[in-house]
């Protein structure tokens, strides 16, 4: 499909998704709450899936960038009372942090990378607990700013669509092909002259910035956090669950997986609120054991099979 055609579809979908509920629904509607939760879960899942698809790296440290963006947004809003400055500063800090961490992390591969990424996030959690002026374990909030939920919802839709478009272009462009070359045949890619560390750093930074975007939306919506929530490993785990349900290595997988996960999780939690951690564990075990290929991978295969059927018939006749 041509890029212009995809963009026109996306503009239409964005307008429909953003303006429909904005006009038709009341601000107190539960739809906006679930849409916001879906929004930041989806973004963090896109972040994980993008990194895994292009590099094969399994990250357990996305909460580092999520949490950093959460705190940076709150801090700069409280300092400047200016949303634009806070968002820009939050992105900048996350990007710099990502660059610094990625330079060290690309030395690791496989399980070492997974544990290394997690340890960076755990370290940040412990540091954040001890940073003076950030509330420690009591948490930190933004009492000064009020953003109507409807406007936040529209911003969230736009952010998701733009992220989708960016990952589509980056996955199917030169960067995507190069990174996948590094993923499958690193030694060969190096001999062919590809700058392997650079490819890895770029993909890692993009992935981390998507996680940071999720963190910004989270803070603007929830307005209060603490280190145990912002830097919780659960953000990375939820990203993996969503990707596994929807289909790893597919761009639309997180969208479908996010919706399925949200429905299951919120419904079961509604029924048994006090068993939250147990239920999350059960969901993880269930989808880990039941994993085959994910919903979107299955759909893609079915579509491909249909397309190939005439060819098969022709080859039989021949």
């Amino acid at each position: 499909m041509k890029l212009t055609k995809i963009i026109s579809y996306l503009v239409f979908i964005t307008a429909l998704l953003a303006l429909g509920p904005y006009i038709l629904l009341d601000a107190k509607s539960l739809f906006f709450h679930y849409a916001m939760v879906y929004g930041y879960l989806l973004l963090i899942a896109i972040s994980w899936n993008y990194l895994y698809t292009l590099t094969g790296m399994v990250s357990l440290g996305l909460q580092l960038y999520f949490g950093t963006a959460v705190y940076a947004t709150a801090l700069f809003i409280n300092l400047t009372n200016n949303l634009a400055i806070a968002v820009a500063a939050s992105f900048l800090i996350s990007a710099l942090l990502s660059l610094a961490v990625s330079i060290l992390l690309i030395r690791l591969r496989g399980l070492s990378f997974t544990i290394g990424s997690w340890m960076f996030a755990e370290g940040s959690l412990l540091i954040m607990l001890n940073v003076p002026g950030m509330g420690g374990s009591q948490g930190y909030g933004i009492p000064t700013i009020q953003i109507p939920v409807k406007e936040l919802y529209v911003a969230s839709v736009i952010a998701i669509v733009l992220t989708f478009l960016a990952t589509y272009i980056l996955t199917n462009g030169k960067l995507g092909f190069g990174a996948r070359g590094v993923k499958h045949l690193e030694l060969l890619a190096g001999t062919l002259g590809l700058n392997i560390p650079l490819y890895k750093i770029i993909v890692l930074t993009i992935s981390h910035l998507i996680a940071a975007l999720a963190g910004i939306l989270y803070m603007l919506y929830v307005k209060y956090t603490d280190p145990y929530t912002a830097f919780s490993i659960m953000w990375s785990i939820e990203a993996i669950i969503i990707s596994v349900i929807g289909g790893i290595n597919t761009l639309l997988g997180p969208f479908v997986g996010g919706a399925v996960y949200l429905v299951i999780h919120e419904y079961v939690r509604f029924l048994y609120a006090e068993l939250n951690i147990l239920i999350t564990g059960a969901i993880m075990v269930f989808f880990g054991l039941a994993y085959k290929e994910g919903i979107m991978s299955f759909v893609n295969k079915m579509v491909m099979r249909r397309k190939q059927q005439p060819v098969k018939l022709l080859s039989k006749i021949a």
Binding site: Y52, V58, L60, L104, R107, L108, R109, G110, L111, S112, T114, I115, G116, W118, M119, F120, E122, G123, L126, I127, L129, N130, I233, I237, I240, I241, V244, I248, L275, N276, I277, L278, I279, T280, G281, A282, I283, M284, V285, F286, F287, G288, L289, Y291
Partner: protein
């Protein structure tokens, strides 16, 4: 100053024994199956909780230790033979399932036990012992001394098992070359199950002595797991217990020195920094 350094070295040495037995199980599963078992941390804490509950219900500490070792052997073997073995081929599904099991156990324990720090205050001998003893101007925590004696015994026994018994030799052969060893008539599945049972039992002991030395809450499993992961990855795919002990000593010494000289609240940050640095600068492809 010299007294302080001596004290730090002694404390670190004692702690490194505990860190080594905490890591042995994870390390052996990693070596044999090529997976990082995320249930390892929660299994250790569960063993500590089982011991704590049994003691609080009036059981003798040694009996509580024996029961928790037995329970952990059963749980460890059942988890391996069931879900873990089934998903061990794919990296992220292993991660998802083992982490999920950890959360289920954490959730189940939290239903019964309120989220507060617990500690095993009684000596494993059942006798009333002082909190610490002074020898040559150095202070020895009795809990740490007990922990060290048991840890060292286990390390020595495990080393003997690996080096001197036919079981250990076939196990090491499996690590070197699984296919050839299988062709020589060794059944990898049986050996693996037996090793999992042994290391799960060691986790049971580690859990008891973790709760005896430090105490903690069920949520501490992530930090225990982080330390065990780092030590495992640092040593790599070998059964080298000396290297494991040495790295555990470095980790314990860093924690102790930061905890003493700066603040106890930042000692875990120092541990995480050591873990990250050890991973990055002593990298082995796994």
């Amino acid at each position: 100053m010299l007294d302080l350094i001596s004290q730090l070295i002694v404390n670190s040495l004692m702690l490194s024994g505990l860190y080594t037995i905490i890591t042995i199980g994870l390390s052996l599963i990693f070596v044999l199956m090529g997976i990082l078992d995320f249930t390892h941390g929660i299994k250790i804490l569960l063993a500590g909780y089982i011991s704590f509950w049994l003691i609080s219900w009036g059981s003798h500490p040694a009996l509580a230790l024996a029961i928790s070792v037995g329970v952990m052997t059963l749980i460890g073997s059942a988890l391996y033979a069931g879900p873990v073995k089934r998903v061990s081929d794919i990296h992220f599904t292993t991660l998802l399932v083992t982490l999920g099991i950890s959360y289920i156990i954490e959730g189940l324990v939290s239903i019964y036990q309120p989220p507060q720090t617990i500690i095993i205050a009684k000596s494993v001998t059942g006798l009333t012992v002082p909190l610490s003893i002074d020898i040559a101007g150095l202070k020895f925590s009795t809990a740490l001394v007990e922990t060290f004696v048991f840890s060292l015994s286990i390390i020595v026994l495990f080393q003997l098992l690996l080096k001197r018994t036919m079981f250990g030799i076939t196990l090491r052969a499996l690590v070197e070359d699984k296919e050839t060893t299988s062709l020589m008539g060794v059944n990898p599945s049986t050996r693996l199950l037996l090793s999992i049972a042994i290391v799960s039992a060691i986790s049971g002991v580690a859990g008891f002595f973790y709760m005896r030395s430090f105490g903690g809450t069920i949520g501490d499993w992530t930090l225990i797991l982080g330390k065990a992961f780092a030590l495992t990855l640092f040593v790599g795919k070998t059964t080298n217990l000396q290297a494991l002990f040495l790295m555990a000593l470095i980790l314990a010494f860093t924690e102790n020195i930061i905890g003493t000289l700066i603040s106890i609240s930042v000692k875990d940050i120092a541990a995480v920094i050591v873990i990250i640095l050890s991973l990055i600068f002593k990298y082995r492809e796994v």
